[in-house]
C-alpha cells in the first residue's frame, strides 16, 4: 500500500492541525502520542496542555468592553 503523505493544516489564528495518529517529541525530549483523527498542536505557546491546543489562543475580552 503506498504511504499517504501526512496532511498538515496551518491555521492563521491558532494551532497546526495534523491528520492521523501522531507521536510528538517535545522540546524537553518527552514523547506524547495522540490517536485522534486530527490533532491540534499548539503554536502560540499559551496552552496549559502542551503540546496540544486548549483554545488558550483565543482573545480574552473583558465583558464591559463587549458590544
Amino acid at each position: 500500500m503506498p504511504a499517504e503523505p501526512t496532511r498538515v493544516t496551518l491555521t492563521d489564528d491558532g494551532p497546526v492541525l495534523v491528520h492521523g495518529p501522531v507521536e510528538i517529541e517535545t522540546a524537553d525530549g518527552r514523547r506524547v502520542r495522540s490517536d485522534r483523527p486530527v490533532t491540534a498542536v499548539c503554536t502560540c505557546r499559551r496552552t496549559r496542555r502542551p503540546p496540544f491546543c486548549d483554545t488558550s489562543h483565543r482573545t480574552r475580552v473583558r465583558e464591559e468592553q463587549r458590544t
Partner: protein
C-alpha cells in the same frame, strides 16, 4: 480486537410519567391506546414541561425506543402528526425569541473570544469551578445525561443531508465523538463512566422524570433539527455552537472536579473534551461551515438560527440551575438523595 464494555446505558428507556395532556396523549399512544386529541397546540406552553416531554417521547422512538413499546410506533401517523404540530409551536417560539441574522462569520467570530471579568464569569461552569458543591455538580451531570448518554447521535441524522465536503468534515468530528474506532473511548461511554464514579445511575433515560423542561428543550432542539432535512443548516449551527464553546467550559469543570476531590473517571470526561473540542472547533469552521455555505449559501440564516437558538436554550437552563442553587434549592423536579442541605 476491542471488547465492548458492558454498560447498562445502552438499554431502552423506561416510560416517563406524564406532565400534562399532550405528554399523556403521547404516552397513551406509546402504550397502544387510542386517546382523543389533546386540544389545540397553539394553547401549549412552547417551553413547558408538557410539550417538551411529549416531544422528548416522540423523539426517543427514533433513538433507542422505550421498554415495552412497539418499535413501529416510530412511524405511527398519529404520533408523527402530533409531533409536527408541537414542533411548529416550539419552532415559532424560538424564531420569535432569537434575533434573525445571516452573517455566519461574525456570529462565529463572536463565539471565539473568551469573555473575562466578573460580569462575564457568571455561567454554570464558572460557578462549579469556583464554589460549586458536590451535590450541584451531580445535579449538573444528571441534566447533561439526557444528551450525553446519546452524545453525537442527534447530529448523526444530518450526515446524509450535507454536501460532500461538509459531510467529510462533520464525520471526522463524529468519528472522534464515537471513540475513533474504540468503543471504550466513545464520549457516551466516558460520560457513563463519570456518572458511575459520581454514584449516579447510568440507566438510559433513568433521570428523564426528574429533569425540568429546560433540560429536555435543549436536547429536543437537536433532535428536531437532526430529523428535519429542512433544518440541516440549524443542526450544523447547533453543532458548531457546542464544538466552538465547550473547551474553556470543560477546563473549568475539570478544575472544579479536582477541587471537589472527584475521581479520575469523573474528571476524564471533561478532560477529554478540552483537547477534543479544541480540534473540533477547527474542523467545524474549516471542514463543515465553510464548505456547507460554499455549496448552499442560502442556509446561512438557518446556521445563525441554530447557533442562537441553541445558545438561548442553553442560557435558559443555566439561569434555572444558578437560580435554584443560589436559593439553596435543587434544580431537579425531585432532588437526588444527597441533594441540597435542608
Amino acid at each position: 480486537m476491542t471488547v465492548v464494555p458492558a454498560t447498562p446505558h445502552t438499554g431502552r428507556a423506561p416510560l416517563p410519567g406524564a406532565r400534562g395532556p399532550w405528554s399523556e396523549t403521547v404516552l397513551e399512544l406509546l402504550r397502544g391506546g387510542d386517546p382523543p386529541p389533546a386540544g389545540e397546540p397553539a394553547d401549549a406552553d412552547p417551553y413547558g414541561d408538557d410539550l417538551q416531554l411529549a416531544l422528548h417521547c416522540c423523539y426517543e422512538l427514533h433513538y433507542r425506543g422505550f421498554a415495552g413499546v412497539d418499535d413501529d410506533r416510530e412511524w405511527d401517523p398519529r404520533l408523527v402528526t402530533l409531533r409536527v404540530a408541537l414542533e411548529e409551536r416550539f419552532l415559532a417560539a424560538l424564531r420569535a425569541d432569537v434575533p434573525p441574522g445571516d452573517d455566519v462569520a461574525a456570529t462565529v467570530e463572536a463565539l471565539l473570544v473568551e469573555p473575562v471579568g466578573p460580569a462575564a464569569e457568571t455561567g454554570v461552569s464558572h460557578h462549579l469551578y469556583r464554589s460549586g458543591e458536590l451535590w450541584q455538580l451531580r445535579e449538573y451531570v444528571v441534566h447533561r445525561s439526557v444528551y450525553h448518554l446519546k452524545e453525537a447521535d442527534p447530529q448523526a441524522w444530518v450526515i446524509p443531508r450535507l454536501p460532500d465536503a461538509a459531510k467529510a468534515g462533520l464525520v471526522t468530528v463524529e468519528h472522534d465523538e464515537y471513540g475513533a474506532g474504540d468503543p471504550a473511548r466513545m464520549h457516551a461511554v466516558l460520560f457513563a463512566d463519570m456518572m458511575r464514579e459520581l454514584g449516579l445511575s447510568t440507566g438510559y433515560g433513568h433521570y428523564v422524570d426528574v429533569v425540568p423542561a429546560a433540560t429536555l428543550a435543549e436536547v429536543n432542539f437537536m433532535s428536531l433539527c437532526g430529523l428535519r432535512r429542512s433544518l440541516r443548516g440549524a443542526l450544523v449551527g447547533q453543532f458548531a455552537l457546542v464544538e466552538l464553546t465547550s473547551s474553556p467550559g470543560s477546563e473549568r469543570l475539570v478544575r472544579g472536579m479536582r477541587r471537589l476531590g472527584c475521581g479520575p473517571a469523573a474528571i476524564r470526561f471533561y478532560d477529554e473534551h478540552v483537547e477534543a473540542d479544541a480540534v473540533h472547533e477547527q474542523v467545524v469552521r474549516r471542514g463543515v461551515l465553510r464548505p456547507l455555505l460554499a455549496a448552499e449559501p442560502a442556509l446561512a440564516a438557518d446556521v445563525v438560527f441554530g447557533i442562537r437558538a441553541a445558545g438561548f436554550l442553553g442560557d435558559r437552563l443555566g439561569e434555572l440551575l444558578l437560580g435554584r442553587w443560589s436559593a439553596g434549592r435543587s434544580s431537579l423536579r425531585g432532588p437526588l438523595p444527597d441533594g441540597p442541605p435542608r
